[in-house]
C-alpha cells in the first residue's frame, strides 16, 4: 500500500477516529459528504465507495448513475471542532466511473486535467484567493438582513461578536493546514475577508471548499449566518474572491523578469493577454449566479471592463507591486471571481485562459489608464475596451460558443452547466422583483 494511505490508516487507528467524512464537490460548487467508519476506509482507498450519482447536481446521467468516491490520501485532516473523545476526519475524494476511469462530471477532475496540461508545458500553478463574505443575524430571506455591525474597512471591531468569530475561524483553518495570510473587516457592514497563503491550485480549491464550510459552521454555532452570496446588500460592495496567481517553472517564478519595467516576463504578459482575451468566455464560471452580476457594477471596486493595470482596483487584472527582494512573489490578480464560484472550475478556467495566451503568444494590450474607470460606458467602448457580461444570461451565451471552455470543462459539464444555469436565469426572469414594485407600482 502506498505510504500516504498507510499513514492515514495508521493515524485513524492511533487517534481513535470514529468517523471519516468523504468530501467531494458537485458541479455548482456545493460540498457533499458521506460518512464511513474507519473499517471501511481501507476498502474505499482500494476500490472506492460506490454511490448513486444521479442525486448530485451535475453528476446525473440516468442510464449510468453509479459512481465511485475514491479518497485522496494526501487530503486527510482531522476536524478540529470534533469532540476530542470521538475524533472524526475528512478526506477529499476523486469521483470515478465504476470501471475506474475519471468521472467527467467531477470538478476536481476538471482541475486535475487543467493542471496536467500546465505540467506538460512545464508549469505548476499557484493561487491565493482573498475570500470575502458577510455575517448576518439570520438566514431568513423573507426578513430584512441584519448585519452584525456597521464597521468598515480594516476597522477593529472590539465590541462586536465577529472579531472573535473570525479569529476562531482562522485557528480552525490553520489547524487543518490552511495558512491564513491576512484577515480583516472589509468595506461593507459585517463583511469580512480571509486571505489564504498561496498554494498549488488543486489544494487551494480544496482549501476554499473547507474554508466555506468552516466559516459557515462556526457562525452557525453562534446562531449566526455566514454567506458567500456575491451581493447580499444593496448599495455596498459585494463579496469577491480576488485570486492571485503565478506560474512556476520548477523553482523559478515564470512571471518574473528583472529586466522588464513592470518586472513581468513575456510569459506573464501573454498569460494576462490570454485572461483578457477569454475573460468574457470564462465569466459564467467565475461568476455563476444571477446575483453575481449585481456585484459586477461600476463604482464598487468590482471590474466591469476587460482591462489590466498595475495599481487600479477597478481593473479586471491587477499586477500588484512586488517588494524589492521578493521577486519570487511576482503574481497577477484576477478580480472578477466571486465567493460563490466553484473553485475547481473557476481556477481551471483562469488557468486555461492564461495558458492559451502563452501558447498562442497573445500580445498584451496597453495598461488601462486611471481615467478608464471614470469614463462612461460609451467612451470606454469607443476606446476599444470590451465589457464583462452584464448578466448571467449574457455570460452563458458567450460560454456556449467558447471552444476553449468546452475543452476546459469537458462536454459533460459544459452542457449540464449551460442547461442548469439557463433554467436558473429563466426562473429569475419570471420573478417580479421589489425593485419593479417600488419603481412601477405607483407610477404606472
Amino acid at each position: 500500500m502506498e505510504p500516504q494511505k498507510d499513514y492515514v490508516l495508521r493515524t485513524v487507528e492511533e487517534r481513535g477516529v470514529r468517523l471519516i467524512r468523504l468530501w467531494f464537490t458537485d458541479v455548482l460548487g456545493q460540498l457533499k459528504s458521506v460518512a464511513i467508519s474507519p473499517a471501511e476506509l481501507a476498502d474505499a482507498f482500494d476500490e472506492g465507495l460506490q454511490f448513486d450519482g444521479s442525486a448530485i447536481d451535475g453528476f446525473s446521467r440516468v442510464q449510468e448513475s453509479d459512481v465511485l468516491a475514491v479518497p485522496d490520501a494526501a487530503t486527510f485532516e482531522l476536524l478540529p471542532w470534533a469532540d476530542p473523545e470521538e475524533p472524526s476526519g475528512r478526506i477529499f475524494c476523486d469521483i470515478r466511473n465504476p470501471d475506474g476511469t475519471p468521472f467527467a462530471g467531477d470538478p476536481r477532475w476538471v482541475m486535475r486535467r487543467s493542471l496536467s496540461k500546465a505540467a506538460e508545458m512545464g508549469y505548476t500553478f499557484y493561487t491565493a484567493p482573498e475570500v470575502e463574505f458577510f455575517y448576518f443575524r439570520h438566514s431568513d430571506p423573507d426578513q430584512p438582513l441584519v448585519p452584525l455591525d456597521r464597521a468598515s474597512y480594516f476597522d477593529l471591531t472590539t465590541a462586536d461578536v465577529a472579531s472573535p468569530l473570525r479569529k476562531r475561524t482562522i485557528t480552525m483553518l490553520e489547524a487543518m493546514g490552511i495558512p491564513v495570510e491576512y484577515s480583516f473587516h472589509e468595506e461593507s457592514p459585517s463583511q469580512h475577508e480571509i486571505d489564504l497563503r498561496y498554494t498549488e491550485a488543486l489544494s487551494m480549491a480544496d482549501n476554499v471548499m473547507t474554508l466555506r464550510l468552516v466559516v459557515r459552521k462556526l457562525a452557525l454555532d453562534r446562531e449566526l449566518h455566514a454567506t458567500f452570496m456575491p451581493k447580499p446588500l444593496n448599495g455596498v460592495q459585494g463579496s469577491g474572491m480576488h485570486t492571485h496567481m503565478s506560474l512556476f517553472e520548477n523553482d523559478v517564478n515564470a512571471f518574473h523578469d528583472p529586466g522588464d519595467d513592470y518586472g513581468l516576463s513575456e510569459t506573464a504578459k501573454a498569460f494576462i493577454a490570454g485572461l483578457l482575451h477569454h475573460a468574457r468566455e470564462i465569466t459564467a464560471v467565475t461568476n455563476q449566479l444571477v446575483n453575481s452580476y449585481k456585484r459586477l457594477v461600476a463604482g464598487d471596486e468590482a471590474p466591469t471592463f476587460v482591462s489590466w493595470a498595475r495599481n487600479n482596483r477597478s481593473a479586471l487584472v491587477r499586477v500588484p507591486v512586488v517588494k524589492p527582494g521578493k521577486e519570487s512573489s511576482t503574481r497577477i490578480e484576477y478580480r472578477a471571481l466571486d465567493s460563490a464560484a466553484n473553485p475547481y472550475l473557476a481556477f481551471s478556467a483562469v488557468l486555461a485562459a492564461g495558458l492559451n495566451g502563452v501558447k498562442e503568444g497573445y500580445e498584451l494590450p496597453p495598461e488601462a489608464s486611471a481615467d478608464l474607470y471614470t469614463m462612461s460606458r460609451g467612451q470606454a467602448r469607443a476606446k476599444g475596451f470590451a465589457e464583462l457580461p452584464m448578466s448571467l444570461s449574457e455570460a452563458l451565451d458567450v460560454l456556449e460558443s467558447s471552444p476553449l471552455m468546452a475543452e476546459v470543462l469537458g462536454e459533460h459539464i459544459h452542457e449540464w452547466f449551460l442547461r442548469n444555469k439557463r433554467a436558473e436565469f429563466a426562473e429569475y426572469r419570471r420573478e417580479v422583483t421589489p425593485f419593479e414594485l417600488r419603481r412601477y407600482l405607483n407610477t404606472w
Binding site: R10, A74, L78, A175, G177, I178, T199, E200, D251
Partner: protein, 224 residues
C-alpha cells in the same frame, strides 16, 4: 534521537547472586527494586525472581501491570512453583525454571529485550515541547496531538532529526519528496507554512527561515 539505554528492572533487591552474575556477564544495564511503588521512566524489561517469596514476586508483577508501565516480565520460578502460574498469565511474559541454566536465561533475556525493542520502545524524536513517534507516525506538541498529513510529518521528521542544522529547499525537496518530484522547491515553502500553521502561533518558531538559504528546525548551533 534518544539512545537505547533503558535499564533492566530486577526484583527483589538485592537479587539472588547467580542472577546478578548472569546479568553482569551479559553486560546488561540493570537496577534492582524491592517495590513497584516509585518506579518511573522507561525500562527495557523486568526479571522477577519468585525463589525467595512467590507472593511478593507476584505482587510486584501485579503492581507493574497495574501501573500500566507495560514492561515485559521474565519470571524465575522453581519447578515446585509451577502450579502457582495457573490463572496468572497476565503477570508475566515468559518464565524460566530455577535453578536456571545460564545460557537459557541469556537466550530468554535476549528474546525479552528483542520484544521490548520491537513492541515497547518506540523511537522518539524529542525537541522542547515536541515529540515525534517514528513508529506510530504520531506527533505531539506540548502534550496535545499534532495532526499532520504524511508529507508534513515526513518533512517535520527530517528537519527535527537534525535540530539546528540549516537545510536548503533543494535538499529538503530531494530528501523528503524525492528528486523526481514535479513542482520544485516551492512545494517545500508551502509545506513549511502548513506545518507552522498547525504548530500554532506559540510553536511556529520551531521552524525558522534562514534568509536566502533554507529552513532550520530548533535553535541554531550558536543560540543553544
Amino acid at each position: 534521537m534518544t539512545a537505547v539505554t533503558e535499564p533492566l528492572l530486577v526484583f527483589p533487591d538485592p537479587p539472588p547472586p547467580e542472577l546478578v552474575r548472569t546479568l553482569d556477564l551479559g553486560g546488561y544495564n540493570w537496577k534492582a527494586a524491592g517495590s513497584a511503588q516509585e518506579l518511573e521512566g522507561r525500562w527495557l524489561g523486568a526479571v522477577v525472581s519468585a525463589q525467595e517469596s512467590p507472593d511478593d514476586a507476584f505482587g510486584f508483577s501485579r503492581a507493574l501491570a497495574r501501573r500500566g508501565l507495560d514492561i515485559p516480565v521474565l519470571l524465575l520460578v522453581s519447578g515446585a512453583q509451577l502450579d502457582e502460574l495457573d490463572m496468572r498469565d497476565d503477570l508475566y511474559t515468559d518464565f524460566c525454571l530455577t535453578p536456571f541454566h545460564q545460557r537459557e536465561l541469556e537466550a530468554r533475556l535476549a528474546h525479552l529485550v528483542w520484544r521490548s525493542g520491537t513492541a515497547l520502545r518506540p523511537e522518539l524524536i524529542e525537541y522542547g515541547p515536541m515529540v515525534l513517534n517514528v513508529e506510530t507516525y504520531q506527533a505531539t506538541i506540548a502534550g496535545r496531538p499534532l495532526d499532520l498529513t504524511y508529507m508534513e510529518y515526513e518533512l517535520l521528521k527530517f528537519l527535527a532529526g537534525s535540530p539546528g542544522k540549516v537545510f536548503t529547499r533543494e535538499t529538503l525537496l530531494s530528501r523528503v519528496w524525492g528528486y523526481d518530484y514535479f513542482g520544485g522547491a516551492r512545494t517545500v515553502d508551502v509545506h513549511v507554512r502548513r506545518l507552522r500553521a498547525k504548530l500554532g502561533e506559540q510553536h511556529a518558531g520551531l521552524i525558522t527561515t534562514v534568509r536566502s538559504v533554507g529552513y532550520r528546525f530548533g535553535l541554531s548551533r550558536w543560540e543553544r
